[in-house]
């Protein structure tokens, strides 16, 4: 019994979780064989509302949700919560309100799957697709590293240091590559659904458990904070952490970046009905406050019980540390499984979407005479290659890449002006503008992000400066190169598709 309540129980929970994930992947492969790219990459565009909603949620939640955000809120209080909610519920949800159904319809009309296919088709040049696909793939690499770091940490904690960083990472990564390779999008979406449910329950219940056990519940937590650290419950927060201009400059590019990432774009094509895709903004505005509210409560409970933590790692892991302090290890194992669910669902979707992008945006364009079955196998092979490249990088260079991961989303946002131009069916943007904008934005992002303290200049986050330069270049170069506008036929065809 002691073994079950200790680290043995925690390991048992994790083994059950991994087994369930593997079984779901195998069922997807066995009962829904994919012989064409649409089946492997998009699940045949036939997902129901429940799976479509949960795969969105689970893909969007990641190591940041479980480890990073409670830590941010611990350090910066209500300001951290407002910034993170503003990013997801404010900006990402607005993008999905306006463009998710439109993307779904354009996909049905023209057979698009990846973002680069839309870019190449609308702007009429294959190289636009190559450049933007390469950029979007590159934005994911640092993000994958951040997830891997989170996975390895959770595994070490939940198994009582039984698994080393290398072994834990290799095991989990190999499992993900296996089920993505076998079952494609259907396996990813089904495992995401299980992981999304686990995540929603784990984070919510975990936050309440910690709050009641450690500080007497949410009201007691906030009452205590009002007496001791009221600045945590107002803005801009301790140490002027979130001045308004900086907050807005951070919220806009980062929130715009999430829908641009290939795994999120791809999932806009998977629901069976346009009504299911219209559910997305509603689902985001309902589920994110629950999860972010839980993260906020955890951060504030941490401030009541363990105030004064300053090291980033200590604040980031405040939830799991408190759980292990107040509950048997098996409870920690359950919540660790929820955290693993958040991370695995994101990484598996990313591996899958990068594999799809390599197969569709590069190989299928370079060798257009492939049979559908060949394309599926190329996508599968790309999943393996991409997966192992990610594994190799995370085992060899985690530190550098995690530094880059901070502005992964702001980098992906550099595709937004070109994407909006294509989705809106505007006549004036040109292929040169669609490449010049993201190129200039990327340079500015790296220049300010790596060269200036705290990734800001003149009090504004690097991502907003990059986006502004991007938009200026996109418009100016487009007006300067009117000869490379999209063809009138293409624009007319896009306009015949509704919103």
């Amino acid at each position: 019994m002691d073994w079950l309540l200790g680290s043995g129980g925690s390991i048992l929970v994790l083994v059950l979780y991994f087994t369930a994930t593997m079984i779901i992947g195998l069922v997807a492969w066995r009962y829904f064989p994919q012989s064409d790219p649409e089946g492997y990459i998009l699940g045949g565009r036939g997902m129901g509302w429940f799976v479509a909603a949960f795969t969105l949620m689970a893909t969007q939640y990641s190591a940041l949700t479980f480890l990073g955000f409670p830590g941010t809120m611990y350090r910066t209080g209500l300001g951290g919560y407002v910034a993170i909610m503003g990013m997801y519920v404010g900006v990402s949800a607005l993008y999905w309100m306006l463009f998710a159904a439109r993307t779904w319809k354009l996909g049905r009309a023209f057979g698009h799957m990846t973002p680069a296919e839309t870019f190449a088709h609308f702007y009429g040049q294959k190289w636009v697709g190559y450049v933007l696909a390469a950029m979007l793939i590159a934005t994911l690499i640092p993000y994958i590293q951040a997830q891997i770091m989170g996975i390895s940490y959770l595994l070490q904690v939940a198994t009582g240091d039984l698994l080393s960083f290398q072994l834990g990472t290799t095991l989990v990564y190999s499992l993900m590559i296996f089920y993505v390779f076998m079952g494609g999008l259907r396996a990813v979406a089904w495992t995401d659904t299980m992981q999304g449910l686990l995540l929603l329950g784990g984070v919510g219940v975990g936050a309440l458990l910690v709050s009641y056990a450690a500080a007497g519940g949410p009201v007691a937590t906030f009452t205590k904070l009002l007496e001791t650290q009221p600045e945590l419950l107002t803005l801009p927060g301790p140490g002027n952490a979130w001045p308004w201009a900086y907050l807005l400059s951070w919220v806009i590019p980062v929130g715009l970046g999430w829908p641009m990432q290939p795994q999120m774009w791809l999932k806009m094509h998977i629901p069976r009905s346009v009504t299911y895709i219209r559910l997305w903004p509603l689902w985001v505005t309902i589920s994110f406050p629950v999860v972010m509210g839980a993260a906020f409560l955890t951060g504030m409970t941490g401030q009541v019980v363990q105030p004064g933590l300053t090291e980033r790692e200590a604040t980031d892991t405040v939830m799991i540390t408190l759980l292990l302090e107040y509950f048997p290890a098996i409870v920690g194992g359950l919540v660790a499984a929820a955290g693993l669910a958040a991370m695995m669902s994101t990484v598996s979707s990313q591996i899958h979407s990068v594999g799809a992008s390599v197969a569709r945006d590069f190989l299928a364009q370079m060798f257009p005479d492939q049979e559908p079955r060949q394309q599926v196998w190329l996508a599968r092979l790309a999943v393996i290659v991409v997966g192992f490249v990610g594994l190799y990088l995370s085992l060899t260079q985690p530190a550098l890449l995690t530094t880059l991961g901070v502005f992964s989303a702001a980098w992906a946002a550099q595709a937004a002006p070109a994407a909006i131009g294509a989705l809106a069916g505007w006549r004036w943007p040109t292929s040169w503008g669609a490449v010049a904008g993201p190129a200039g934005g990327t340079l500015v992002l790296f220049w300010i992000g790596l060269g200036f303290p705290q990734q800001q200049w003149q009090g504004l986050y690097a991502g907003l400066w990059a986006l502004l330069v991007n938009i200026i270049l996109f418009v100016a170069v487009s007006l300067w190169t009117p000869g490379s506008r999209p063809s009138r036929d293409t624009v007319d065809a896009y306009r015949r598709v509704g919103w």
Partner: protein
């Protein structure tokens, strides 16, 4: 872009700007409010998320009949590329 989308997008932006409003009005009032929660926490974790979700629900509702009729047409083999004229008017 149809008017219904623009309408709900503008409401969304307005609500989100209120959610992100600078200090002094909402954020910096911390006196206990609903169920003992500080006012700033009540506003940011309960009130505005509820209003924003309500607007998203209203958008779903306003698109409902149009989307259902599109799906019916698609099921009958119609082309997704022929709906924009009607769509634009709504």
């Amino acid at each position: 872009m149809p008017r219904r989308l623009i309408r709900h997008a503008l409401i969304h932006i307005f609500l989100c700007l209120c959610f992100l409003l600078p200090g002094g009005l909402l954020w910096n009032r911390v006196e206990p409010h609903l169920a003992g929660l500080p006012f700033s926490v009540f506003v940011e974790t309960l009130m505005f998320p509820f209003l924003i979700a309500l607007n998203a629900l209203a958008l779903l509702w306003s698109c409902w009949h149009h989307d259902q009729s599109l799906m019916k047409q698609l099921a009958q083999g119609a082309d997704v590329m022929s709906e924009s004229e009607k769509d634009r008017e709504q």
